[in-house]
């Protein structure tokens, strides 16, 4: 750990700590909401450690609580989590072989590194300049989230069970606000925001008629906006190419 402190700038460590605090806080609302939706305490506790991906866990709990099929809920969660595949493709070799460890320890290390990959760890790792700093930021944030998310979930489930009506504290507004804050940087792109609005409109229009979980999947049709813009861009490029 001491080498991590020497490697990372103090500002970065503070930002990582704040992000972990936010994760802990969202964990509180997650645990409280899960218990309020009728799940026993051990469920959000187990899910927070095993899945370790907030948005998909909220989605899973939401669909099942609304009477949806758990397998459909898992598929919806997997679709949301498929972004982790692109994270792994975008990151330099952080989770890969590390010269300082050898033998079976290396395999466990690699498995653990994969498991702690999430939105926050990837953002912090990408922001660092060189590979040692990327690795240090990745591990610090990743282990921080691995501790804070389940800890928050368990405490939230205990509190939620005790206070009963969590809606009175506005906890149900927290989750959409969290996700909105996470995607806000991506929404500054014009094409992406149009696709997102189209998807959201489709999901809202479908909600009264379809079983829980399906409207969100149907929203994927919003991606066609991006396809259309890519095609228009390539056509423009082509017509420029043939112009005298």
């Amino acid at each position: 750990m001491s080498s991590i402190y020497r490697t990372l700038a103090r500002g970065t460590l503070r930002d990582i700590a704040l992000a972990c605090l936010a994760v802990w806080f969202i964990g509180l609302s997650y645990g409280a909401i899960a218990v309020a939706s009728g799940f026993p305490l051990w469920f959000p506790a187990a899910q927070s450690v095993l899945v370790l991906a907030g948005a998909s866990e909220f989605l899973f709990i939401g669909i099942v609580a609304a009477g949806g099929n758990p397998i459909a809920a898992a598929l919806a969660g997997l679709l949301v989590n498929s972004r982790h595949l692109t994270y792994g493709l975008a990151l330099p070799d952080i989770t890969g072989p590390d010269m300082t460890t050898t033998g079976p320890g290396r395999i466990w290390r690699r498995l653990l590194a994969s498991h702690v990959m999430n939105d926050e760890t990837v953002v912090f790792a990408l922001a660092q300049e060189d590979l040692p700093r990327k690795r240090a930021a990745y591990w610090t944030c990743g282990l921080g989230v691995l501790l804070c998310w389940p800890a928050g979930a368990v405490l939230g489930a205990l509190i939620g069970g005790a206070i009963g009506n969590t809606n009175a504290f506005g906890l149900d507004a927290m989750f959409p606000a969290v996700i909105l804050a996470l995607i806000m940087p991506a929404l500054r792109d014009r094409v992406t925001v149009r696709a997102a609005l189209a998807g959201a409109a489709i999901a809202l229009a479908a909600t009264p008629f379809l079983p829980a979980g399906l409207p969100v999947l149907l929203a994927l049709a919003g991606v066609l906006v991006v396809v259309a813009s890519q095609r228009a861009a390539s056509q423009r490029a082509a017509s420029r190419g043939t112009a005298p």
Binding site: S29, V80, N81, S82, A177, V178
Partner: protein
């Protein structure tokens, strides 16, 4: 919780699949590369899914409208996020707005 076995099976499937995504990204990176348009599309697909999740969880409850208090809070959080307020401020402001609106009798 209805049918606990099926719910736990769903949760285990979600965790196994998520781990597979996390593990295979770095492995695939060493072997193949996606064309830029495919990467752009995957990235947009994740944002679209999450945006739909925001819209449905903010505005609907079951098959109907969720009332005004919750979307009101999310709207305040969204504006703060747009203005680049810190994450914790965004989340707490959203919850506080909704709680105050409910206290005032807004559904």
């Amino acid at each position: 919780m209805k049918d606990p076995t099926l719910v736990v099976a769903g949760m285990l499937a979600l965790s196994a699949g998520t781990f597979a995504f996390r593990f295979s990204g770095p492995v695939l990176r060493q072997r193949i590369s996606f064309p830029p348009w495919a990467e752009r599309l995957l990235e947009a697909a994740a944002v679209v899914l999450l945006a739909a999740l925001v819209a449905t969880t903010a505005l609907t409850q079951g098959h109907g409208f969720a009332g005004l208090a919750r979307p009101g809070g999310v709207l305040v959080g969204g504006v703060l996020a747009w203005r680049k307020a810190p994450f914790l401020v965004v989340v707490l402001a959203a919850a506080a707005t909704t709680a105050v609106l409910r206290l005032l009798g807004v559904p």
